[in-house]
């Protein structure tokens, strides 16, 4: 029994570590965007590489967790839910890395008057990711509390929708090439997409939490 519990604790630690990665990924994304807008390119590239490293580490960790859960037939009733949660959370982490990579590759020229709007958008989107991580943690330990965090995720998702819309209207009201407008719009859209993904994970989480009601 002690051995069983030891293995379980290991797995718990791995799940926590994975969620830490997602949480930290969000923070690094915010930091990276800020550095990009301030044109501190070297530091930005460093953050971008950090995030890509975390993404591949997250993939490996997620596969290991899934393998252990299935190999040892742990939580047979909820393993499908946990698997789905981890995989859709992984999409959030991937999206964070991909979006920051987009900034590095495409170097969009963001007019300085909408810098703060981009920062606001990133703030809202990353807040939804942070609440998501809290919601998933509480799913494992105290699933009745996950409801509060799920509410927060939904709130931040709406918020980022609003900010993104504002940015797009702002961009298209400016006098610049349509190609540039569409380029910028794409970035706003991608940052907004992060919170949309977080919302999708939440939808799964709501159902999984209902199923956990003994």
């Amino acid at each position: 029994m002690a051995l069983l519990l030891k293995k379980t604790k290991e797995l718990e630690a791995q799940i926590d570590e994975y969620l830490d990665l997602v949480d930290r990924g969000g923070l690094i994304f915010k930091q990276g965007l800020k550095l990009y807008l301030e044109k501190r390119e070297d530091e930005f590239e460093e953050r971008m590489q950090d995030l890509r490293g975390m993404e591949s580490k997250g993939d490996a960790l997620r596969r290991e967790i899934e393998r252990m859960i299935y190999q040892q037939t742990l939580i047979p009733e909820s393993r499908g839910d946990v698997l789905g949660l981890l995989e859709s959370t992984d999409r959030v982490l991937n999206l964070l890395a991909d979006t920051l990579l987009g900034f590095s590759v495409e170097s969009p020229d963001i007019p300085s008057d909408i810098h703060h709007q981009f920062m606001d958008l990133a703030e809202a989107s990353i807040s939804s990711v942070e609440s998501l991580v809290m919601a998933i943690r509480s799913y494992f330990r105290d699933f009745s509390a996950s409801r509060d965090y799920i509410n927060k995720v939904l709130f931040y998702e709406k918020e980022s929708d609003k900010i993104s819309e504002k940015i797009k209207r702002n961009i298209f009201s400016k006098t610049m090439d349509l190609s540039k407008k569409m380029h910028l719009r794409g970035f706003a859209y991608h940052i907004e997409l992060i919170s949309d993904e977080a919302e999708d994970v939440c939808d799964r989480l709501v159902i999984a939490a209902i199923k956990r009601h003994i």
Binding site: M1, L5, E12, P76, E77, F140, R141, R212, H213, I214
Partner: protein, 481 residues
């Protein structure tokens, strides 16, 4: 009968665990088999005693027919999809034998059995409701990680499953082997002074083995069906259901618990074989009630209640018909001839039991060789109630006892006798008795320690005394044929 009990009823204990893949089938089957056998051998006697009191099927062919007819009733009723329990079929079978052979049915036992059937699902529902509430409160407060809950749940399912299997063996072995007890050919077996198995225990061991074979060969499919289709529960709820069900089975089987209740001055719980499936259904309903009582199919409850009546009646009829064929077509002896003889001694003893001697006295000193003859002779002079008949049969039954005192044997008896009791037995050395009550009276006269007591805590003492006396009767009984 044992095989089908293992194949079907083990699923009530381990079905949810195996069905939800919380416990592997091999682990479940091994644990279930070991504990079913232990339960049957160690605690099987209590519930079997009650069946024995209902009617003593004393010839092997009779026992066989009763068991077969009960098994046939179970499989037939299962085929027409009426929820059925082996316990109810066996009770029906014994009543069928009683009717066929004219032996009296002990209505006292019958009432006890019936009340137990009705109360067992209700008790299971109450237990599971309470346990579920407590466990839910605890789990919500403690914030244990899902994965840890999972581990504790698994260990819990195996432990509770072991307890459940033990209780199942103790409670339901009576269904499998109860009817064979009076006709058992086994003699007590002892290996040294540490380990002794009475004949009944050997019989129960055999029954336990049959159950274990049933578990290993056929219960997997039933477990999957029960776990996935019938009771699809969350693992925690599954644990609660199995625990509540096992507690009920244990309550109706445990002599230790009965003793404890008696010594605490509480009314004892009758030891009766009950239906594990119905206890399980009761426990599931308890969970549903704890969750707000939605989605209960009350039709199922009606079906269960109808089973309390239809199953025993069907089994009674089937046994009666089967016994007719076995006796008249296959010419097998379904009842050993039992002699009944009314003597003046019997009459005065009966008078003490408030049986008026006048209508019996014409039969004085006549011998009757089977219950049917005796019953019709008695009824000729008076319209006796079944209860009165039961008493008359008890005191008029002829036996033969010859007390051959052997210090070693008497000291080895189970339950153990006190030194005072043994001295009293020694006083009777060499005496012969032709009625059981005569030996009983002689014992009581030979020593204070053989007399039943009055007052508080006496029930426990008297119960032990009854068992000691049964052991003495068995020891000094001389086969008359």
């Amino acid at each position: 009968m044992g095989w089908s009990l293992g194949a079907n009823n083990a699923a009530n204990i381990f079905g949810p665990a195996v069905g939800t893949r919380m416990v592997r089938f091999k682990v479940a089957a091994t644990v279930a088999s070991i504990f079913v056998i232990l339960g049957a051998v160690i605690s099987g006697a209590g519930a079997a005693d009650t069946l024995g009191a209902l009617g003593a099927v004393n010839a092997l062919a009779g026992s066989f027919t009763v068991a077969l007819a009960a098994a046939a009733t179970v499989s037939w009723m299962t085929r027409v999809k009426i929820p059925v329990s082996a316990s109810q079929a066996v009770v029906g079978g014994i009543i069928g034998w009683n009717l066929f052979t004219g032996s009296p049915t002990d209505f006292n036992s019958l009432t006890k059995i019936f009340i137990s059937w009705v109360s067992s699902p209700i008790l299971a529902a109450i237990f599971s409701l309470v346990i579920f509430r407590i466990l839910k409160f605890f789990l919500d407060k403690s914030r244990v990680h899902l994965l840890e809950v999972d581990i504790f749940n698994r260990i819990g399912l195996i432990l509770v499953g072991a307890f459940g299997a033990y209780s199942l063996g103790a409670n339901n072995i009576a269904n499998v082997m109860g009817v064979f007890v009076p006709a058992s050919p086994f003699k007590s077996l002892s290996l040294g002074s540490l380990f002794a198995l009475s004949g009944t225990q050997q019989l129960f061991f055999l029954g336990g083995l049959a159950i274990a074979i049933g578990i290993f060969t056929y219960s997997y499919r039933v477990m999957i069906t029960v776990g996935n289709e019938i009771f699809h529960l969350t693992p925690v709820a599954a644990l609660v259901v199995v625990l509540a069900e096992s507690m009920v089975l244990f309550m109706f089987a445990s002599q230790t618990l009965q003793k404890w209740l008696l010594s605490a001055g509480l009314p004892p719980i009758p030891l009766v074989p009950i239906s594990s499936s119905q206890a399980a259904i009761g426990a599931v309903i308890g969970i549903a009630l704890a969750k707000g009582g939605k989605g209960i199919n009350y039709g199922v409850l009606g079906k269960i209640a109808s089973g309390w009546i239809t199953t025993p009646i069907s089994a009674t009829i089937l046994t009666f018909v089967a016994l007719f064929f076995v006796q008249n077509v296959f010419e097998m002896q379904v009842i050993h001839s039992v002699d009944y003889k009314i003597t003046p001694g019997v009459l005065s003893r009966l008078a003490e039991e408030k049986i008026p001697p006048a209508p019996i006295s014409p039969l004085t000193d006549k011998s009757f060789h089977n219950p049917v003859q005796f019953r019709s002779a008695l009824q000729k002079y008076h319209d006796w109630s079944e209860n009165q008949l039961s008493t008359i049969f008890k005191y008029a039954q002829k036996d033969s006892f010859n007390v051959q005192y052997d210090s070693v044997v008497v000291h080895m008896l189970t339950p153990k006798l006190s030194e005072k009791q043994i001295r009293a037995v020694k006083l009777l050395n060499g005496m012969s008795f032709s009625y059981k009550w005569q030996l009983n009276t002689a014992l009581e006269n030979a020593g204070e320690s053989w007399r039943p007591r009055n007052g508080t805590e006496a029930t426990l003492f008297n119960e032990e005394l009854r068992k000691q006396k049964e052991a003495i009767f068995k020891l000094f009984s001389v086969p008359t044929r």
